[in-house]
Symmetry: C2
Subunit: 324 residues, 2 copies
DNA sequence: TTGAAAGCGTTACCAT
DNA sequence: ATGGTAACGCTTTCAA
């Protein structure tokens, strides 16, 4: 692996000069520049990023911390972050926290030790203080950590209202909600949207809301419990698609026809929601755009560019398919 | 951010000594060691990984290059690689190549410039020579690059035979195959397994094989074409689960009942195959284990440990569910 | 048992 | 316009 010294030697100049042409900084004579470029080509020289990082105290890398890449929502997010980061000249280090705050902390430490330029994180446990102390640009995605921090989220409340009203408009007379993970902001928001629509209905009671953890297994259990207490439920709004799919499975098992006897709507708009049968009616988030926006906001912050806006709440949209 | 100098200063020793206790290398007096550890704690000192990397010419990082993390197979693979790497003390940089050899090359270069210790790659275009030139440990996964290179794959041929025979045993009288991407080794192997079973059947003709690209869209088109030419097909073996799901969708659209009128089996055993309706009969690969094995083999190579074995072909298993 | 110093590959400042 | 050199934070060799 040729180093800058080799290039300097071959071109008959100092390393300082090579560095200047490399970075297009400072004065370099035309012929000198050509010499150097010649030598670079000849040696197939590529600057050593680690040495650069050491000097700059920046590694051209951003960390992405998500609970679990296996959740399709985060898969799509990760892909868009990776795409966008690559286009902007950054690498991404992937971290799965499993929502565990110890893992989060440890990743945060590792990322710092590696001089990442910035971090995109989706966390429930991280506090504003911890982020402050890090002293690295951070963008929070999907979940809000603190109003002051750069954040990219969606219209959770609105989406939930949309979903619930839609079920009403389809003739549902008793609508239940499968909640997301306790303590996660977006789960609260979606639940409150649901409540806004139905809390004054005569049939409503607290047990129309059952608790899931944004994953399939918890949803299956929650749905079973729900049907036990309320066999007459004819509409379900699940706080994400995976849980909606779980609910559909249970409905099938219990011999309830979807959408004839029970209508179900999800939230997220993951690709999966279009490939299953029946295709899922859902509140679609612009997932790719979320990741893109987050990356751009982060990079702007890293590069100290003016931030017109640091808090984005992107819009959502109801897409009707065959589960309603 | 405290540096090793700060620690040395506070402990009243030289940086060399601090380095020794940090790495547990060389002689350090008991009381000196305690002093240093004291200082480290007090300053909450964490060694700078970038500086270490520069000296060691290794960054404690491995690169993972996959075609597309959005393909559930690679999602699961990525998760297992990340888990295993983390346990062994390595970070992972994620790269999506989209099967594009230019992107692959560019990632390879970036990874090298960042002193990654090793690379796990799933590629069709990479050649043995290119890997040689890299001069970095590489493990090939899911697809074989060259016999000489460390490789983790599965029993593709056997799985295909299993799948096809199973369809026969279920009474299918005309079995078609949706092939994987042209030029990809595992697609060839799966196709040859299929051929082994049916090529001598009286009903068989080349047009019983249609071409897909391991993704949903291509499979949908391929399946339509298939039913056009062979309306009497009553069994399909798809080279992966996503394509099998696509085939099921098309069957539905055409009013063919699965599994009554047509039986379908996939390959991979992605989580998705159990959440859809009907649940998919498929050849299950040990995906998590693939990633784990690949990481372990790679790390052994990186750490110059004896490699008992460098080529693994893991077993597969047919799981019968509701699509057959 | 400990310390001084060279070196890893860059960049940026100060001279010339 | 160009070169010398300190510095980034660490590890390792050599000496003491």
């Amino acid at each position: 692996m040729a180093s800058i010294k080799d290039v300097a030697g071959l071109a008959g100049v100092s390393v300082a000069t090579v560095s200047r042409v490399l970075n297009d900084k400072g004065y370099v004579g035309q012929s000198t520049r050509e010499n150097v470029e010649q030598a670079i080509k000849q040696l197939n020289y590529k600057p050593n990023e680690v040495a650069r990082s050491l000097f700059k105290k920046k590694s051209n890398t951003i960390g992405l911390i998500v609970p679990d890449i296996m959740n399709p929502f985060f898969t799509e997010l990760a892909r868009s972050v990776e795409d966008t980061a690559t286009n902007l000249g950054y690498n991404v280090i992937l971290c799965n926290s499993d929502g565990d705050s110890e893992k989060e902390q440890s990743y945060l430490e590792v990322l710092r030790q590696n001089y990442v330029n910035g971090i995109i994180v989706s966390s429930n446990t991280l506090t504003a203080n911890q982020v402050e102390e890090l002293n690295i640009p951070v963008v929070s995605i999907d979940r809000e950590i603190s109003k002051g921090l750069p954040t990219i989220v969606v219209e959770n409340h609105k989406g939930a209202v949309l979903a619930t009203q839609f079920l009403q408009s389809k003739g549902c007379t008793k609508i239940a909600h499968i909640r997301g993970t306790d303590g996660v902001v977006n789960a609260e928001e979606r639940c409150s949207g649901y409540l806004e629509v139905v809390s004054n209905e005569p049939w409503f009671s607290d047990s129309c809301i059952v608790n899931g953890n944004f994953d399939m297994q918890s949803s299956i259990e929650a749905t079973k419990e729900l049907f036990m207490n309320h066999p007459d439920v004819d509409g379900i709004f699940a706080a994400n698609d995976i849980m909606a799919i779980g609910a559909i499975k249970v409905a099938h098992q219990l011999g309830k026809k979807v959408p004839e006897q029970i209508k179900i709507v999800g939230f997220d708009g993951i690709t999966l929601s279009t490939v299953m049968t029946p295709e899922l009616t859902t509140i679609v988030q612009p997932i790719y755009e979320l990741g893109e926006k987050a990356t751009i906001v982060l990079v702007n912050q890293m590069e100290q560019q003016p931030l017109e806006k640091t808090y984005y709440r992107l819009d959502v949209e109801l897409i009707e398919r065959n589960s309603t």
